[in-house]
Every structure is written in structure tokens, then in C-alpha cells.
Amino acid sequence: MKAPPSFDFIRINKLNEFYENVDRYSSPLIISGGTVAVLMLKNRVIRPDVVIDISGIEELNVLKKDKEKNEVFIGSNIKLHELKSILPDDSASELILKAATTVGDIAIRSMGSVGGNVCLGDPGNDLPVALAAVGANAVVGSREGIRTVPVSECYVKPFKTVLKKGEILLGVSYKMLYGYRTSYNKFFINFLDHYVGIVAAIAKVEGISIKDMRMAVSGEAIGTTVKIDLAEFSKIDEINAIKDKLNKFVNERSMSDDRFGTVKFKKKVLLTLMFQAIDEVLKA
């Protein structure tokens, strides 16, 4: 039987209460939805002395649109299934929504929060890839104040993020983008229940000029979320050069043959997904 080890449980309803409480414990676990965190407890791979339920913090349960800054802030406590009805209709949000609607199944999306999906650092998580592609920032709070980190720089290695003890992910923020095409593709294998590759891309094309194009990848093949810089390309007829660059990117990644497949297979999957994404965002 799987049962969590013993711990204290506290529910926090105010952000300042969180900062006051979190320092009193040596190994706190912060949960909003549960799901993966509860599973890790049941597997006893984490043994926190306290579980802090932040789902009641209303400040983190908001979606804010700042029209002046053209910016969206999604609070950590927002559930994945809620995004559909609250996100604005710009292209960046569209890509984020595409990612959010493919997380797990309906029940997991009802339980899982935006914060959880961003904080875990599992290479199979969806939101980080889309957020990295649109250039979103993680908004991190602590007693000392607030800092922002680009989502693409949040992940150190699988299950390891740049968040420190005493810090809390308040949410993510990004600039709204208009008139972009988006693409979100992933390759799932039932055995070992994993994504070999996940690719998110977004581009603005006018005639034959590429005004802006961004891409991020993740999945077990690559281990963590990585942003790929494609700013040098400005014409859609450079598609072969773009693909060459992606080819080079994939071939230069260090990968190994492991339970998730051979290097040859992983590269094939990544490139297939990337080329598909490029075709989708650049097609007329």
C-alpha cells in the first residue's frame, strides 16, 4: 500500500501568513492542487515536516490583465481546467491554452494548478514549454520581495528548479501577442507513460517576412525545457536553413540510449515534431 509518511498540515489563506509560517519548518512542501505532490508523498520520495496548502490564498487565485503593459499574470492557484474560460484571446494565451488542455486527463486538469505544473520540473510537463516559447516570466515571491525569472531559465535539471526554500511561485506573466500562429505537438508513449518530445512554437508572418518566431522543446529526449533562438530568420523561404539550425541543435544536444529509447529514435522524434511545428507556424 502507498501511504504518505506523517507530517503536519497547515492551510494558509494569506500570503504574509505563508512567509511567517514557512520559516518555522525545515522541509515544507507547498501544495495547491495536490496530484503529483501527493503522489511523491505516497512514494515517500519526499518527507516534508509540513504540508502547506496554499489553495486558499486568494491573491494567487487571480488572472490579471494589465492593458497598459499589455501583460497577463496567471496566479499559481488557477486550476488548469479554468484557463479555457479566463485566458484572453491573444496568440500567446492561445499557445498556453493548447498546452494546458493536453495535461493528463480531465480529472488531473480539474485538480492540477498552474503553479504545480510550472514548479515540478518534470520534463513531461506542458505549461513550461508553452510559457518558455512565449517568453513568459515566473513571478517568485519571498519575504524579501518579488523577483522574476524567465520560465526558460527556471529548470536546472529534471525535477530541479531555481526556486529556493522560502520562495513561492506567485504565478507567471507574459506579454500578449497578436496575429501569431501557434503550434503545440508532443509524442507520447504509453509504456513508461512518458512524452519523448514536446514542441511549442509561435510565429508572426507578414507576407514572406517572419516578424517574430520562437520555439521551446522539452520531453524525456531532452530532459528539461529549452528555448531555441530563431530570431536570425526573417523570411519564410529560409525554411531549409531553419530546419538546418534545428538539426544542428538536436545533434549537438548530449543524449544517451536509455529506457526512453535510443539517441537515434529521440532525435528523430524531436526533429519530426520541430519540423511539424515550423511548417504549421510558417504556412500561409
Binding site: 500500500m1 502507498k2 508513449i189 507513460d193 515534431l273
Partner: protein, 670 residues
Amino acid sequence: MSERTEKFFMGKGSFVDDIQLPNMLYLEIVRSKKAHAKILEVKGGLTAKDIPLTLTSTGESYRMGRNYEVEPVFAKGKVLYYGQPVAAVYDKDKYKARDLVESVEIAYQELKPVLSIEESLSSSPIHENRKDNIVARFEIGKRFSPESEVKVSDELYMERVLPNPLETRGIVAYYNSGKLNVWISTQSVYSIKNGLSKILGLDPAEVNVFQADTGGAFGSKSAVYPEYVIACYLSMKTKQPVKWIESREEHISSTRPGRGAKAELQLYGNKKGKIEGIEGKIYVDVGAYADDLSSTSPSWIGYQITGPYLIENVYIEGYSVYTNKSPLGPYRGAGRPEAAFFIERMIDKFADQIGMDPVELRLKNLPERPFQSPTGLKVLPSKSFFEEGIKSINYSELKKRNVGVSFGILLPAVFGGESAKIKIDEGVVKVWLGGNAHWQRHELFVKRILKEILEVPEEKVVLMNGDTTELQKGIGTWGSRSAITAGNALYKAAMLLKEKAEKMNINSVEQLLNSDLSAEYYENMQLDPTMISFLLTAAVAEMRDGIKPVIEEVWAYYDVGEPLSEEAVYGQITGGLLMGVQEVLSEALIYDSKGKPLPETMAATGIAYSINAPKYHVKIKTFGRSNTPHGAKGVGEAGTVGAPPAAARAVEKLLNKRVNKLPLDFDLLA
């Protein structure tokens, strides 16, 4: 309406974990974290010192008299597979019992694990008392000297697969007033009763076994396992009820998986497509310990290697071998899918080699008259069945797509026969079958048979869970046997009851329902060629997202004899087909280089979800009745026999690369 289903919706089911008794203790097993190691010391918990017992072969595998290594209840001296029980702990609180697992300390000295059939053949024995890792060797058929124009060679492998019923295994044992009472999720209360009484040295009259509602089994709930013995022992010691419920993690590491079979085959024939002979070797990886079923598995696969075909020359050497993996058990099909996969994949290769349509080649090799294979298998002619089937699935159109077709047979495990009891109790007709349901729709055929013979309305008939106190003798539910064997016993029990009623001048159903008549019947049975069903399966593969092969559609044109209920048969067929397809694409139990299972969750074992289901086209046919009063044939394992070779061929066509290993090696996509 199905009153059984309604009960589950009302939360009134009685699965084993739902059973709550006063003063109950929760048992947890401490398992080996090594695949092969010497145990230097165990601190804490119940161990082999407390329960120095060894399992016996029971259930589906009950054929005695072989020389092999049987699993001890607790590891003694050495652990031979990851997940082997080493110690046990218990508490009246189930979370505390889980905590206690961590209090047991085990010191190991690691040994190199033997993890494949190849390693098994070349490594020193994992059981020190044996000279090698071979459990048993078999010769099937007769040696022959091939003089054929065409020789087709290949090596084929089917990976281990877990049964993974939605409900894991579990037991509640309560030793009370000199009786050991056991409630269990099982395919056979008799297998459990016989096994427990033998292992614990109890008089069978002291052991009562009651079947709890059983949430699927697929082979995993026929045998006696170490945990059952430990739970009973603990209850006998404490005089308190003891509950053990398997976690999914334990199911993955320690419940017996199926398959794990390899074949090195040569098929001989002429350029016109006539198959002239088949020879080669079949190996089965039985894991760390054996039982009758696993040790004889290569011979059972070899026995049916000729499928529905006329193949005059057959010579197969079979080997069952030990490895440092969990012991092998039956998984839906148990040897039948292996045989079908091996012969059908060879036939496709033969067709490719001589440039002939694989369906045409298959039709050409069906016997015109009853045929006895050199292996001893007797099959009836089936050409008209398969020809009709090929038309029915519109093969001439399907051929334009990436289609795979398999021809197969389904041998029901009728050996041992079966029993049934009917008891009229306060206006309700209660039925017990020796092969207890779990829940393949036995109730549908039960109602139908009783309606036919006793004319009692269906809503008055209740199929009871297995119960050794009501029906003393019985066999079990496995091997596509129930419709034939339990159906036969029930049919004859109903006839007996009818006779009794006539003698007592009971002339109306109303009078019958007011009586307290009962009847019981048991009959042994032997496999008869009329009981073998024929299976035509086709599958179409397509590429999704430019890289991922999927099985889009599946056709099943299956002979089930006289179907006892089409509704019942339909769900059995689609269920089996999906399992078969998934075995090709992703479902498997694979181990890391140290012998630890790679999957950690149920999803990770690669099982199919709704989104993986292909479109099914099922046709249920009657190609002759079986030699039983009700004419039924088997069906439970039809899909797992037919689907793998058809789906493997479809993927092979799609990728234009040979598929000889399951699950699909994803490197083929690179």
C-alpha cells in the same frame, strides 16, 4: 438491467477490500529490492524463520509430478527476484502497517542477476542445487529432414505482460472456532482451498473459501501466492482477522506476468505456397521459480504451433528456463497467443519471400479433412469458415491499406471439467458454478440456460459468488473454458432438477419457485476438436503525427459455437482485441539492467486507455456446435490470440520493416 452492476452503483459491492471485520489486522509485505542477492541478515518482521513453508502448484497449473524449484513463502537464504517477499509486518492501523515496512532492515550481498533467456542459458544456475538454469526440456512432433525449395528463418519474441486487472489481488483471512475462513478475489475458490490446506497442513474440511466480488483477473488470480499463506498463518497465530491488499507497485513486481517467450523457427515450403514443415526451438522465461503451468509452457505452445493449418512435419524443442525475475503465470491466452504469434509471423514472412498474398497462402494450407498434427493436436477443416470471413471483412479492399490478417484457433482448457449447483431458496434460483465468475457475463448464460430448461424468468436467477461451503467440488475460471464446462455442468444440473420436479408433480414455474429443490452436477471433460473455435482477425495500421504508428481499425470474425449470449460474447471479444493490439504497440513488463521492473505505475506498464481503442468490427459466427448439450465454444481469450499477429503485420506493412519482437521496438521508427 444487470442487478450486479446496479449493486456497484449503489456502493453495495463486496470486493475484498470492502470487507471490514472487528479487530482486523493489516498485513504489509517487505519485499526484496534486489533481483539476485544473498540475504545476510533480516532484522524485524515475520520471516522464513517463522513461516518456513513452500507453495504448491494449484489452480490453472495443477498437473503434478515435475521436478522444478517451487517458490517459498518467504525468501530463504537468497532472494531470486525483485519484489520477492522477505518479511512481513502488521498493525491494526493500515498506515502504521505501511510505516512498519521501513522498520525492517535487510542486509544483502548482491549477485549478478540473470535477466534474459540468452543469459539464462549461458549463466551458472541461480538455484545452486541444479546443474543449469533449464527447468524442463521437451520434444514436440518428430524429427524430419527438410528437402524444401524455400526455407524461412526468424527469431521471434513476445515480452512479458502483466495481467493488471483493475482490482489488484487481496485476501481477508480469519481463523475462528477451528475453521480457517478466507474471503478472496479469485478465479477459483477451489484452487485457493486446496492450495492453502496443503501448504498449511490443514484438513480441507477446516478451510472455507468465499469469493469476494472479483474485479478482473486475466490469469493473475488462479494460483496461491505467498501473501495468502502469510495472511492465514498470521490469523491462525493471532486469532484475529487479517487483511492484505496488494498495491499496484506490488502487482508490477510480484504478481505473475505472462508471455516472455522466444522462438527460433524455420518454416519450409514450396514456391507455390505449400507449407511443408516447421522446426525450431521455443524458450519460455519462467522467472525465479516454476509451477506446472510455467514449466510446461513451451510444450503447450509447441502443441498448438500448427494452428488451423495442415503442416505434416513438425519438430520443436522446448525449454523453460529460470531467470531472476518474478515467477511466470498465465496471462489471458496463456500459450495460445504465443503459438499464434510465432506461426502467423512465420507465414507472413514466407508469403513475402515467395511473393504471394499472405491470405491466399493461408487459405491454401487449411486441411480439407480432419487433421492430426504431428504434435497431437486435432483440428477440423475450416476452409469455408475462413473463406467466408475473408469475404465478410472485404479483404480485397482492405488489401489496399496497411493490413495484417491472422488465422487462429482457440483451444479451451476444458481439462478437469466443472461443477454447478442450483438451489431454490425463497422464490429465488441461486446458482453456484465451480468456475466462479469474475465477471465475464457468466450470469447471462446462466440465466439463458435456466430459462431454456426450467423456464424460470431471468430476474429470478441469481449467480452467486464462489463458495466452497455451498459447492464442495469445482475447478476454476480460466482458459476460455467456462461457457463449455460450467455451461455443461449447469445444463445437466438443471436437467436433474427438472427430473426431481417432475417426480414431485411440480408442473408450473410458480410451484417450482416455491419449492426448496436443489441439484448439483460435476463432470470431467476432455478436449474434443468440436470445441476448438476458429478466429479470423484483421488490423489496419496508420501513421499519426508523421511518426507514431497506431492500429486504426480491427476486424474479428470469430466462431464461438452456439453463443450463449451475443451481448456477453461481444464485450469479451473487444476487450481481448484491445489487449492484443496494445501488446504489439506498448504493453509490457520490462526490467532495468539490475532486474528492477521499469514501470512504476499502472499507466507506465503501457496499458490501453479509451483513446487507444481502435474501431472494432466484430462478427460472431457459429461454425458448428461443440460436442456439449448447449453447443458453446470458448471466447474469453479469442482477441488476445488473434490480434497480436494481425496488428504486428499491419505495423510491419506500415513501416516496411520486419516486426518480430513485441512490444514494437521504437527504434524501428528512427
